[in-house]
Amino acid sequence: MAQPDIMIVEDDGEIGELLRDFLAADGFTVRWVRSGAEMDGVLALRPADLLVLDLMLPGEDGFSICRRLRASGPPLATLPILMLTARRDEIDRVVGLEIGADDYQTKPFSPRELAARLRAILRRAAPAAMMAAPVPGPAGPGDWARFGDCAFDIQARRLFRNGSEVELSTGDYDLLLAFVTHPGRVLSRDQLMDLTRGGNWEAFDRSIDVALSRLRRKLEPDPAHPTLIKTVRNGGYMLVAPLRRGPVP
């Protein structure tokens, strides 16, 4: 993609400036604001590809901003968010997960590590179809998986629901592929992490849950009561819907 557009919300002037300068030098387009209110104004003019959100902000804090972004409609509801948090134990990670952050980074952090995480998040969010390998020669035998009211073109990386296309990000695609290739089996979070391109998930291991809830929103007739992909106790998931796989949709 063209230079990714990063929005930083950080109230500490020194940190904001330093981060902006570092990321800009590293190949990102960076905009930096100091509060949620400023962010709203700037995003309205031009959307961003990723939001780096500090938790401790004056006025509206990071949690609240994240929550309200997720509650709003597209495109902000699907804007990838990385939270910057002061060192804490599990508590903040769990809360961050609950409100839908994609990843988090504790302060102080290595800016190179942050940049790597940003890239990983952007990769997962990129539309899957763009990464599809070109189909060789005349339309070769396809590879489709049907479940529920969905038809999944595995090679073209496209998903159709009741005939109309549903946009899939790379992250969505990887996750859906994992389920479709292991139908009727319980996959733990660890297994899902391994299956979906290994190392990209290290830091925020429960972002699998976030990715899954995104996927559910795209697939399930009622995301709050999933019937296609069920949660099994102790954090495993399983594709329970009957699956038909074949060369035609």
Binding site: I15, F22, P111
Partner: protein, 435 residues
């Protein structure tokens, strides 16, 4: 004799005993005063012997001679029978037989109270006549009746019994009443023993005495002070750590702009070390507010997790099976990490073992390092106490690792003991309640 109830009981018992003794002494003195002449028993025995040996024609004279205001004598061929207006006195009889045994020389006796129809039911008063029947050796019966001090003495006996009975009843009653008063205090002692870090206020036991209430109020005030002190200290540490975090974040970012790579790397290392210290200090401060509930945790699998992070084989674990304890998994993992870290740092390796011991699970972390001398084993668990102060800043610790471990274990209701390892090194024994 430590219990309050027992002590009070003893005091009350001694008091009552003294009271009874005083009463008896009083009676004794009283009866001394009244008595004149030889005791009736001896007189009666003498009369019996006389009657046995005096020829019959002289008997009437004898009777006349001996009879007086206080004493009357009757000789008959038959013993006293029911219907004779005589009430048997079994206790006096028993006592009399015992005391007069020698003089009686085998003669049988019985004591009676002389009753006129109306007085049989009345308790024996000092004025009622008492009769002593002696079976004479020749088959006749001698009946000696006396008024006055003998009767008084028997009355005293009866009174003594009544006093004893009354003492017993009053004693038991008082004891029960005392026990009720002491119970709130016992309850309070038990409640205080259960106080823990949450420092919740105590409720005064219902119907407690004023002093007990005062005690409870004072205890609650003290807990409040402690709570505020702890909260203030936690706040202080948390805010210092937080602000430090901001400066460290800036420095870390700035370090990226240091052009000399060598300097840059060192700066990054120092910042990381500062951050580690800050994290530990913050962790310790935050433990004070920790109140997450305990849940069943498999210490064996947690230990396996901690050990797995050291793939080079320097750390080993021996656990016969699952070891369920009541605890907080994150905190316990920290305990394991810290102990393993210490063992590696000072001993080059760590050997963990788990075993079940009654209702407890014991975790042992052992190393072949220099160990810790007995005198320092308690100090070492205190925050910021450093044994290796002589080492340079980069090589020594900050003194928080064991303090955090000890704090976590304490909050779990467990115990931690440091000991010498046979053959050299340190053994750390952590005991936790099994789930």
């Amino acid at each position: 004799m430590r219990g309050l109830a027992l002590r009070v009981l003893l005091i009350a018992a001694v008091g009552l005993l003294l009271l009874v003794l005083a009463g008896l002494a009083f009676f004794h003195a009283q009866e001394r005063e009244q008595g004149a002449g030889p005791p009736l028993q001896d007189q009666a025995i003498a009369i019996a012997r006389l009657v046995e040996n005096v020829p019959s024609p002289l008997l009437p004279d004898l009777v006349a001679a001996l009879a007086g205001n206080r004493l009357t004598i009757a000789i008959s061929d038959r013993p006293v029978q029911p219907g004779d207006d005589m009430v048997p006195l079994p206790t006096a009889t028993w006592l009399g037989r015992w005391r007069m045994e020698e003089g009686l020389a085998g003669r049988r006796i019985r004591f009676f109270a002389v009753a006129d129809g109306a007085s049989t039911q009345r308790p024996l008063a000092g004025r009622d006549p008492v009769a002593l029947e002696i079976a004479l050796k020749d088959g006749r019966y001698l009946l000696v009746s006396a008024r006055g001090w003998l009767a008084g003495r028997l009355a005293a006996l009866r009174l003594a019994w009544m006093l004893l009975a009354a003492t017993l009843v009053i004693g038991i009653g008082s004891l029960w009443a005392l026990r009720r008063q002491i119970r709130p205090l016992e309850r309070l002692a038990a409640d205080v023993a259960l106080l823990d870090e949450r420092l919740e206020p105590l409720a005064p036991p219902p119907r407690a005495a004023r002093e007990v209430r005062q005690l409870v109020t004072a205890l609650n005030a003290m807990q409040d002070r402690i709570r505020r002190l702890v909260a203030a200290r936690s706040r202080m540490m948390a805010s210092i750590s937080h602000d430090l975090g901001s400066y460290l974040t800036r420095l870390r970012l700035r370090a990226e702009f240091i052009s000399d790579p060598n300097q840059r790397d060192r700066a990054v290392r120092d910042i990381a070390a500062m951050e580690a210290l800050m994290v530990d200090a913050l962790a310790l401060a935050r433990l004070e507010g920790e109140a997450t509930p305990l849940e069943p945790v498999d210490l064996a699998s947690l230990a396996a997790q901690a050990v797995a992070e050291h793939a080079d084989g320097a750390v080993s674990l021996s656990a016969p099976g699952p070891a369920l304890v009541r605890g907080r998994p994150v905190a316990l993992l920290r305990v394991l990490t810290n102990l393993i870290g210490n063992a590696l740092k000072y001993g080059g390796g760590a050997e963990l073992s788990l075993c079940r011991d009654g209702g407890m699970v014991e975790l042992r972390v052992e190393d072949r390092g220099p160990g810790i001398p007995a005198a320092e084993r308690e100090l070492v668990l205190e925050p910021f106490y450093r044994r290796d102060a002589a080492r340079s800043l980069d090589q020594r610790g900050h003194g928080l690792g064991l303090a955090i471990v000890a704090d976590i274990i304490r909050r779990h209701g467990g115990s931690i003991i440091l000991d010498d390892r046979p053959g050299g090194g340190l053994t750390v024994r952590v005991r936790l309640k099994a789930a």
